[in-house]
Symmetry: none
Subunit: 530 residues, 2 copies
C-alpha cells in the first residue's frame, strides 16, 4: 500500500485565515486531536516570528504523541547576514523539534521586487539556512514558496532554488502553489516535469484554494509522485484557505488505496474534524466533502427512493468509512416514501393507502406551501402526525398570552425591554405568570416555561440552543410571513421545532410550544389534558 | 475566443440542498440576477414533479431576459408507457420553454436495481422521451445520469444511452458525475474517451462535489472539449453540492480566456453571487474562491508587506476582475480608504488625519463589531457619518413607544395581533397615536409613520419594500442579537437602513426611524428639531 505523509498546517497557515485565532491551550488540544487521527506531521507555528508560538513549543514537550511529529516553521536567514546570527533561525533551533520546515523564494520576481536582494544571495540564503538547521540535528523540509509561478516565469531559477535546498541538506522538496491561481492540470504538469529532473528525491505539494482546485491539485501531485501533502484539516488558511486535508485524506483512503492515516483511522475523520472546528469556534459547512452534516444527506425524492433500495445508488462510499452518517431529509421534493417511513415510526400499522394517510399527506403538503419546512424541524413534523392521527392529547392549552414592550422600558435598571404574560390551563387548573426578557420572544419563552414547570418539573432541564428567523417573501415587508426555527436541549438530547406566521411572536409561540410538547412526549409524561 | 455555455441549476439541483427552499418570488428574483450576469441557461425547475415549479414557469413569462434561456427539467417517461401519455413529459411541454433537459439512466445497475426495468426498455425510454419533446418544438439536452459510474461498470451500455439520446434528437450530451466520487483525472479520461467516439457532437459536464473536486473536474472536462458546464452559482446542491459556477466562471474567464458570461460581465460576479445568497438567505463562506469576503484578504505580515509592494505577489488576479476587493486585515488600510471615500461624499473638506475623522472611523469600527454591516444599508451609514460630524439636526425625538400583542387578540374581526403606541416630539409639540398590525413590527411601523405624517406630509409616499431579519450568533437563542435590514421606497427612489439589538422591536425601530430621517434629508426638508 502506497504511503502518503499528511502534513497539517492548521496551527500555522490555518491561523492566517480571517477569523481564526488560537490560544496556546487551543493549539495543544488541536495537536492531540490530529495525533489521534494519525496525521504524520503537524506544523505548529513560527517560533521566530511569534512569542506565543515559541511558548507553545516549550509546552508541547508535555505532550506524548502516538503518531504525529511536530514541525517548526520559519523563513530563510535575512539577506546579508550569517545563518548562525539570524534570530529567527536560532528560535527554530530553540523550539527543539526533530523536523523543521524552512521556506524560501523560488520566484525571481519575489526575490528582486519583494525581499529585494540578488538572485545569487537568495540561493545562498536557502542553502545556508537549511545547512544551519540540519547541522543542529533536525531534519529539514524545504517549502519552495511560489514554486509554480516561479517555474512559469523563470524555470531555471526555480530549479536552482531546489538545488540550493538539496545542497543545504533538505530531505523533502515541497512545491508550493502559494497564490493558489493554477488549475490542476498545470500543477500536475509542472510537478511531473520537476520530479523528472530530481530522480530519487522526495517531493511534497502545498496548494491554496483560490480557484477552488486545491484538493484536486494535491491529488494530481500525488498522481505525479509526491510523498507528502501539506494542507489544513478543515481548509483554513490565508484568503480562500489551504488544501482541505479531510478531503485529501478521504480521497487517498477511499479512492486511491493509499495509507495516509495509520490504517483504520479514517473512521475517526468526521469526529476529529468536528473536534478541531469546535476548538477553532468555527462551524463546518454542511456541504463539506466526507465530513459535513449534509455530505450524505438526501433530499430529492428519487434520491431518497434510490438510497433506500441501495445506498450506492447515490453515495460514492459508505459514510461509515469516514465516520459520518446517512440522513434522509423531509421536504417538498422528498416525496411520499420518506413521509410514510416517518409516519410508520409513530403508527406502524397504518396502511399507506388508508384515507387517513392520504389526508395526512395533504396536510403536510399544505403546511409546506404555507412556509413550513420540516427538514430542520423533525420534532414538529412528528407532532403534526400525532395530531392528525388523533394520537395526541394536549399537555396544556393556552388561555391567552400578551407581550408588552416599551422604550424606554418601565424598569431602567433591567436589560429587559419586554414583559410577557402567559395564562394556561393544565389538568383543569388555570395558571398565570409573567416574565421579562430582551425582546418579546425572549420574554414569552421565559414566561411559558415558568408557568408550565410547576406542572411538569422535567421541563426545568430544557433550554434553547438555537433560534433562527427567516422572513419568507420579504417584499411583504413588516407584514411578511416569518418562519421561526428553534433548537432545544435538555443536556442529553436536542430537538428542533418550527412555527410560521405573519406575526413573529405567534410563529415563535408555535415553535416554543411544540418544543415543550415534544419533550414531554419523549419523556413519556402522561398527557394530563387541558 | 472559445465560448463555453454556463448552465445554472440553482433553482433545480440547488433547491435539493439541505436548508434551501425557494418561493416562486425568490425564483423570479434569482432568474433576473443570473440573467444580469449573463449565464447562458437557467434550469428553473421540474414542472412535472412539483406544482410550485409549474406555477413558476407560467409566471416566468412576465420576465424579459437579456442573456439567459430558461430550461425545464424532467425525467424520461415511465417504463412501459407511451411518451405522449406520460404526465411528466406533458408538464414539460406545458411549461413552454425553448430548452428542456431530460435525464435518463446511463448506469446499468440503476436500470436494473433502482428503476427496475430492462436495459432495452431504458434505452427506449430515453429515445422516446427526447423525441416527444423535440417534436413539440423544444431543444433537448440529455443529462446522462451516473454516466461515469456507468462507463466504469458497463462501458458499452453507457455509450448506448448516449446513442439513444442522439437518435431521439438531443443536441447536447451532458455527462453527469452524479455521485460525485471520481477524481478529476478520471473525469477527464472518460470524457476524452467518450467524446472521441462521437465526433462533431456537443458535450456538457455536470459534476458534484462529494470529494471536493467538482470545479477541477468541470475544468478538466473543458480541457477535454465540452462546450457546456452545468453547476450552481454558489455550489448549492444535493449532499456536498454541485460544481460552483462562480469558481468555474472565474477560472474560465481569468485563466483560460474563455467567454462564458457575455464579455465584461465577470465584473458582476461578486455582486450577483451576493444577491443570490441574500435571496436564498444563506451566508457565503468568506473563503469562497473569487467572490468570498476573504478571497483577497491578507492577514499574515509578510503577505501584507508583499501585497503593498506589488499585489501580484500574493494575488492570482486583480480582485476587480471579478468585482471583489482587496482587504488588508492587520492594518485595515483598505477599510480606511473605502470609508474615507464615503465620508468625503458628505464632508468633502474633511482631512483624513483630522481627529474628527479618526474618531468617526473608531465609531464605525465599533458599530461593525456590534453587528452592524453597512454593505447593504448605505443610508444608515450616511446617517452615522452625519450624526458624528454634527451635520445633523433631528426631525423628531421619541418620547416612548409601546407594543402590545396578545393571543387571542382583543378584536377577533381583525387580522391584527398587535397594537403599537408611539409618542414623539416635533417642533416642540408632542403627538401620540396608535396603530394595529400583524405582528409588533408591522404595528410599530404603521404607528410611527402615522404620527409623523401630520408634520411631514412627504412621508405619505413612503412604503417598505423589504424586511429582513438575521439572528447573529443564533446560539444565544431568543436572547441573541438580531440584525434588521429594511428597504424603503417612495415610488421613485429606494434606500436601505439597518438596526441591531437583542430586541427585534428595538432593532426594527432603529431601521425604521433611520429610513424616515433619510427620506426627509434626501427631500431637503428643513429639520425642525425635537
Amino acid at each position: 500500500m502506497r504511503k502518503i505523509a499528511l502534513f497539517d498546517s492548521t496551527l500555522r497557515d490555518g491561523s492566517q485565515a480571517e477569523g481564526i485565532s488560537f490560544s496556546v491551550e487551543d493549539k495543544l488540544k488541536i495537536v492531540q486531536a490530529l495525533d489521534t487521527l494519525g496525521v504524520a506531521y503537524i506544523e505548529a507555528g513560527n517560533p521566530g516570528s511569534n512569542p506565543k508560538d515559541l511558548e507553545f513549543f516549550f509546552r508541547s514537550k508535555e505532550l506524548t504523541l502516538q503518531h504525529s511529529k511536530l514541525v517548526a516553521f520559519g523563513s530563510t536567514r535575512r539577506r546579508n547576514t550569517k545563518a548562525e546570527e539570524d534570530p529567527n533561525l536560532k528560535s527554530l533551533v530553540n523550539a527543539g523539534t526533530s523536523y523543521v520546515a524552512i521556506f524560501g523564494k523560488s520566484w525571481d520576481f519575489h526575490v528582486t521586487d519583494i525581499i529585494r536582494t540578488t538572485l545569487e544571495e537568495n540561493l545562498s540564503m536557502i542553502e545556508d539556512s537549511i545547512r544551519f538547521i540540519t547541522e543542529s540535528g533536525s531534519e529539514v523540509f524545504f517549502d519552495a514558496e511560489h514554486y509554480f509561478d516561479g517555474y512559469l516565469s523563470n524555470k531555471e531559477y526555480a530549479l536552482d532554488s531546489l538545488r540550493a535546498a538539496l545542497r543545504g541538506g533538505a530531505t523533502t522538496l515541497v512545491l508550493c502553489e502559494t497564490r493558489g491561481g493554477l488549475i490542476s492540470s498545470e500543477v500536475k504538469r509542472i510537478t511531473q516535469e520537476t520530479m523528472a529532473l530530481f530522480p530519487g528525491v522526495d517531493f511534497g505539494i502545498h496548494t491554496h484554494d483560490d480557484v477552488g482546485c486545491a484538493v484536486a491539485s494535491s491529488i494530481a501531485a500525488v498522481e505525479a509522485g509526491v510523498v507528502q501533502v501539506q494542507g489544513t484539516l478543515l481548509g483554513f488558511g490565508e484568503r480562500c484557505g489551504n488544501a482541505n486535508l479531510a478531503s485529501v485524506a478521504g480521497i487517498l483512503g477511499t479512492k486511491l488505496g493509499c495509507d495516509c492515516l495509520c490504517g483504520e483511522n479514517l473512521e475517526r475523520l468526521t469526529s476529529v474534524c468536528r473536534r478541531v472546528a469546535e476548538v477553532a469556534n468555527v462551524r463546518i459547512a454542511g456541504s463539506s466533502p466526507f465530513i459535513g452534516k449534509s455530505a450524505f444527506a438526501h433530499k430529492g425524492g428519487m434520491h431518497i427512493d434510490g438510497v433506500q433500495k441501495n445506498p450506492l445508488s447515490f453515495e460514492h462510499i459508505d459514510p461509515m468509512e469516514v465516520g459520518n452518517e446517512r440522513r434522509l431529509l423531509m421536504s417538498e421534493v422528498a416525496g411520499r416514501a420518506l413521509m410514510l417511513k416517518r409516519i410508520a415510526r409513530i403508527a406502524p400499522n397504518l396502511d399507506k393507502d388508508d384515507p387517513v394517510t392520504v389526508s395526512l399527506m395533504d396536510e403536510l403538503k399544505h403546511l409546506e406551501s404555507e412556509g413550513y419546512q420540516f427538514e430542520g424541524a423533525e420534532s414538529s413534523f412528528d407532532l403534526v402526525i400525532r395530531r392528525h392521527l388523533k394520537m395526541y392529547r394536549p399537555y396544556f392549552s393556552l388561555v391567552h398570552y400578551q407581550t408588552i414592550g416599551s422604550s424606554p422600558y418601565a424598569d431602567p435598571h433591567s436589560d429587559a425591554t419586554h414583559a410577557a404574560v402567559v395564562k394556561v390551563k393544565v389538568k383543569g387548573e388555570s395558571a398565570i405568570t409573567a416574565a421579562e426578557g430582551e425582546g418579546p420572544v425572549n420574554a414569552l419563552d421565559r414566561a411559558l416555561r415558568k408557568v408550565l414547570e410547576q406542572f411538569y418539573p422535567t421541563l426545568k432541564s430544557v433550554y434553547l440552543t438555537d433560534y433562527k428567523v427567516r422572513v419568507l417573501d420579504s417584499a411583504g415587508a413588516t407584514a411578511s410571513k416569518v418562519r421561526v426555527l428553534i433548537e432545544s436541549s435538555d443536556g442529553k438530547q436536542s430537538w428542533s421545532t418550527i412555527g410560521v406566521s405573519k406575526d413573529i411572536i405567534e410563529a415563535s409561540w408555535f415553535a416554543l410550544s411544540d418544543s415543550i410538547e415534544y419533550k414531554l412526549i419523549a419523556d413519556g409524561v402522561e398527557p394530563s389534558g387541558e
